[in-house]
Amino acid sequence: MPKRRSAVVFVHGLAKKPPPDKLLELWLMGISRDNPRPDVFAPPNKGINLYTKGVPHELNYYADVFYADDYETDFSSYFEAEGRGADAEILADKLDEPAPVAPIPVTPEEQAFLARFEAELSSQLITEPPVAPGINPAALAGAEIAGLLPAAWREAIIKKAAMEAYYFLFDKEYTRKDGVNFQVRSELRRRLVDKLKAAAEKGEKLVVVSHSMGTMVAYDVLRNCADCPKVETLITLGSPLGIKEVQVELRAPGLQKNDFPAATTSRWINIYDPLDPICGADPKFANDFEPVDGKSVEDIKESNWSKWRHTITHYFAGLQFRAKLTEALDL
C-alpha cells in the first residue's frame, strides 16, 4: 500500500481493557459516531471515520502487562450511556475492582510519591455521603456531581491508578499473576516506540492520541526516548501529567522543570474536563511544561459530562477534540 499523508497511534489508559482488536474497534467507533450526544454537543458533530479518510492507525496496547488476558468483557461503558448512570460506566470499566497488586514502595522517594499521588486523586474524588432516611436516592442520582463515588470505588480507582503509575514511573519489575515478569517502563516504552515506527511506515505525519495513564507513556517516549520517530501532533485526553509527582518522575535528567518534547514533537494539544478526577487539581499544562523553540502546550477545556468525567468515548465525542484531530490529520 502507498504511504498515506498521516497515521495515528492510539495509547489507551487506566485499568483492564477489552482485547486489542476490540478496544481499537471501540475507539474507532467512538471517534466516528455522528452526533453522539446532541444534548451536550450541538449538531452537526460529524464523526471521523479513519478507514474512510484513509488514515492508517495503530493501537499501542499495554493492559496485558498488568492484567494478562483477563480482558474487560462488558463494553457498555464505551457506548452511549443513554438513561444509564455514570455508575454503570465505572462498573463496566471494572474500575470498582481492586488493583491486582498493591505497590510496595522500596525507597522513601517511592513512598512519598505514592502518598502524594493518592492524596492528589483523593482530593478530586469525593465519597458519596450516606443517603439520609426519607430522601429519594433517585433524586440524588440526577445531580451528577463529578467525583461523588461510593467509598469502596473511590479507593479502588485511586489504588489502581497509583499502582500503574508507580510501576511505570519507577520502572519496577511487575510479576503478573501468570508468572510473567515485566520491567514496566522499559516494556511500555519499547512497545510504543515500535508502534510509532510501524505507523511511520504507513503515514508521512504521525499523530498520537493518548488517554489517561497512556498520556504518561506517550510523553515519556516523546521526551525521553532517543529512538522515538518524529511526531506531528500529540493529543492528551484526561491526562494526569499535571500532577507534580508525575512530572518529577518524567523530567529529563538535569532539568529543573519539565519541558515541551520539541525534539520529536511539533504540536501538543491537551484536552481536559476540569472535573475529570484523573487530571488531578491541575489539568492545564501550558504553565507546567516549559515552551521550547516557541512550542508550548495548547490546553483546551471540553465537557466529558456525566458523573465519571474520564470516559474516553466522551472525550472522543467532543467537538473540539474532533476539530483538532481533523486539523492534525489535515483532512
Partner: protein, 552 residues
C-alpha cells in the same frame, strides 16, 4: 474469455453476444461493424448486423445501435429488423420526431411486402412503436391529451388485430386507464370495456406463461392484475418476474417506468397498488442489485418523507439493503451537481459532475468546473463527443418552457486520454479525464465535495457511484459496491459495482460522500492492480491523481 480488441468485440456482437468491456472498446467494436457495412464487406450478413443491433439496444447502447442501422440503410437499403432497432433506439434517446418519421416510412415499406413473414411481423411492431411514441409524448407533456388518445387508439388497434400480441394490449389498457382518470371515469364511446380488456389480456398472458415463461409476460400479468384492482395477484406476478433469472435490468426498469409514469405510482407511499409494486422493485434493486434510482418527479415526495417519516422511507424504499437514509440524502444532494452529458442532438452518452475549480487547481478559481471522462468529451478520442457538440443538463434545474437548460462547453481546461483498464504507470498519464467550464452556468451552482485521501482497504470499505443510466427516463442511480484495491501510485481505484451504461464520468464517493474518484470503465476480467491475474472490477481514476497532475 473477455475480448480485449475491437475486432474481438465486433465478432462477439455479430454472433449475438454482448461482451462486458469498457465503453470505448465497445464503441470501437461497433465502429468496426459500421466500417464493414460501409465498405460493403461481403462476409457481413444482415443477421450479424441484426444481432449486433439487438444486443446493443438490450444493453442501452442506443447510439451504437443507430450507427449500425444507419450505415446498413445507407449502404444496403431498408431492413425491417434493423430499422425497428433504430426506431427503438431513437425513442429511448427521446428523439421522438425522427423516430415517428422513420416508423411511418417503415410502415409504408412493410405494407408493400404482405407476403414476407418478416415484413409482416415487423409491420405490427412499427405500428406499436407509433403508439409508444405517442405515449412518450404524453409522458413528456401531460397536457397533450391528443397524444394520449392517439397512443390508446394505436395500441388498441394492434391488439385487436392480433390479440396474442399482449404487449400492445397492456399498453392500450394503461393508456385507457389514464384517459379514464383524465375524463373523470367516463369512457370514450365505442371503446372496449376496461375490465373486460384487462381480463382478456390476463388470460392470454397466463396461457402464454404456461408454454413459455418470460419476464415481459410476468410484467404484463402483474400490470393486468393492477388494472383489475387485484393488487395481491399483481404483487405475486411481480415476484415471479423478480425471481426469474432471465429478467434483465432493462426489463425491470421498463416496468418500473410504466408504473411510475403511466400508473402514477410513488414508491414512498405504497398505499396505492402501483406505489406498492414500485416499493417492492425499489427494495429489490437496493438489496439485490445494490442500487437506488431516483427520477426528478420523485424528489419532492422523498424530501417530504425524509422530513416526516424517515423510517417509512427506509422500509418502503430501501428495505434491508446496506443503503441508509443518509444515502438518499446524499443522492438528492448529488442530483444537483451530477450532470448528464449528451451530444447536440440530445443523445445521453455519459455523466459528469461539478467541483470547485480552486480545489483542483487554484488558477481555476472558486467557481464550478465540470469533470467527465475524455472518452465522453474530447476532440481527439474516438467516438467521444467533440467539445463543440457536447451539452450538459442537470436534472433538478428549473425547466424553461418544459426543457432543461443544455449547457455548452465554453472552455476546455484539461484533458487526458483514456488508458486500458488496470494499466499502471508512474507518470500520472492516461487519466481519462476532461475538465471544462460550462457556458452560462451560474457561478454559485452547487459543487460536490472532493477528497484527496482514498479509504483504507478492508472488508467494510465501500465505494458509491452515482450516474445517469442511459435511456429515455431522466434519472440518477446510486450503486453501492465493495472497494477492491488501489494501485501503488494511488492513481487507480478498483471497486465491484454493477454500473449501468452511461456511468462513464460518474463521481465515485467514499462513505462520507466525498468524491474520491472519477469512474471510467469496468471489465469482467480486469487486470489486478496488485499481483497477477484478473477479476471483475470497475475502475476509477482518483481525484488525488488528477489534482496532483494539475498541480505538477
Amino acid at each position: 474469455m473477455t475480448p480485449t480488441t475491437a475486432q474481438a468485440v465486433a465478432h462477439d456482437l455479430k454472433a449475438g453476444r454482448f461482451p462486458v468491456v469498457s465503453d470505448w472498446l465497445l464503441a470501437k467494436g461497433a465502429q468496426l461493424i459500421v466500417d464493414e457495412i460501409q465498405q460493403g464487406a461481403v462476409a457481413l450478413g444482415v443477421q450479424q448486423a441484426r444481432n449486433a443491433a439487438a444486443r446493443l439496444n438490450d444493453n442501452c447502447y442506443f447510439e451504437l445501435t443507430r450507427a449500425i442501422a444507419k450505415a446498413w440503410y445507407g449502404r444496403k437499403g431498408f431492413d425491417p429488423v434493423l430499422q425497428k432497432r433504430r426506431v427503438q433506439a431513437l425513442i429511448n434517446t427521446t428523439l421522438l420526431d425522427e423516430a415517428q418519421s422513420m416508423a411511418t416510412e417503415a410502415i409504408a415499406v412493410c405494407e408493400k411486402h404482405p407476403g414476407d413473414i418478416v415484413y409482416r411481423r415487423e409491420l405490427l411492431e412499427f405500428r406499436g412503436l407509433l403508439g409508444r411514441i405517442a405515449k412518450q409524448r404524453y409522458v413528456n407533456n401531460t397536457d397533450d391529451l391528443d397524444s394520449l388518445v392517439d397512443a390508446t387508439n394505436r395500441y388498441l388497434a394492434q391488439y385487436l388485430s392480433a390479440p396474442e400480441s399482449y404487449w400492445h394490449g397492456i399498453n392500450a389498457l394503461a393508456c385507457l386507464n389514464l384517459e379514464l382518470h383524465q375524463s373523470g371515469g367516463i369512457p370514450r364511446p365505442a371503446l372496449p370495456d376496461f375490465n373486460d380488456l384487462a381480463r382478456k389480456i390476463l388470460e392470454t398472458v397466463v396461457e402464454s406463461c404456461r408454454s413459455k415463461p418470460d419476464p415481459w409476460a410476468y410484467a404484463t400479468a402483474s400490470e393486468a392484475c393492477l388494472a383489475l384492482g387485484r393488487c395481491d395477484d399483481a404483487e405475486l406476478w411481480l415476484y415471479r418476474m423478480l425471481s426469474s433469472k432471465d429478467t434483465t435490468r432493462f426489463q425491470l426498469d421498463s416496468y418500473s417506468r410504466q408504473l411510475r409514469e403511466i400508473w402514477r405510482g410513488d414508491p414512498t407511499s405504497p398505499v396505492v397498488c402501483a406505489g406498492r409494486l414500485l416499493s417492492i422493485i425499489a427494495n429489490f434493486c437496493a438489496q439485490r442489485q445494490a442500487r437506488i434510482t431516483l427520477v426528478p418527479s420523485q424528489v419532492p415526495a422523498i424530501q417530504a418523507a425524509l422530513a416526516n417519516d424517515e423510517r417509512g422511507l427506509e422500509k418502503n424504499f430501501l428495505g434491508e439493503s446496506s443503503f441508509s437514509v443518509d444515502s438518499i440524502r446524499s443522492l438528492l444532494s448529488a442530483f444537483r451537481s451530477v450532470g448528464c452529458v449528451m451530444n447536440d442532438i440530445g443523445e445521453r452518452l455519459g455523466t459528469g459532475f461539478l467541483l470547485s475549480g480552486a480545489w483542483l487547481k487554484p488558477v481555476y478559481g472558486a467557481g464550478p468546473v465540470f469533470l467527465t471522462n475524455a472518452h465522453v468529451i474530447s476532440d481527439t478520442v474516438t467516438n467521444a463527443i467533440p467539445t463543440g457538440k457536447a451539452r450538459v443538463t442537470f436534472e433538478l434545474d428549473t425547466p424553461v418552457a418544459g426543457n432543461l437548460t443544455r449547457y455548452a462547453v465554453s472552455e476546455v481546461l484539461f484533458t487526458s486520454e483514456p488508458g486500458p483498464v488496470g494499466a499502471r504507470n508512474d507518470e500520472l498519464k492516461m487519466l481519462d479525464c476532461t475538465i471544462v467550464r460550462l457556458r452560462d452556468l451560474p457561478g454559485d451552482a452547487p459543487v460536490l465535495q472532493a477528497t484527496r485521501d482514498l479509504p483504507l482497504l478492508g472488508p467494510k470499505a465501500r465505494a458509491f457511484v452515482a450516474g445517469h443510466p442511459r435511456g429515455a427516463g431522466l434519472q440518477i442511480a446510486l450503486h453501492d459496491s465493495l472497494l477492491l484495491d488501489i494501485d501503488d501510485q494511488e492513481r487507480l481505484v478498483h471497486y465491484r459495482t454493477p454500473t449501468d451504461p452511461g456511468s462513464s464520468g460518474s463521481p465515485v464517493f467514499n462513505a462520507d460522500w466525498e468524491v474520491m474518484a472519477l469512474h471510467h470503465a469496468g471489465l469482467a476480467e480486469a487486470p489486478r492492480l496488485n499481483g497477477e491475474g484478473t477479476y471483475e472490477a470497475n475502475e476509477g481514476v482518483s481525484m488525488s491523481a488528477i489534482r496532483r497532475r494539475l498541480r505538477s
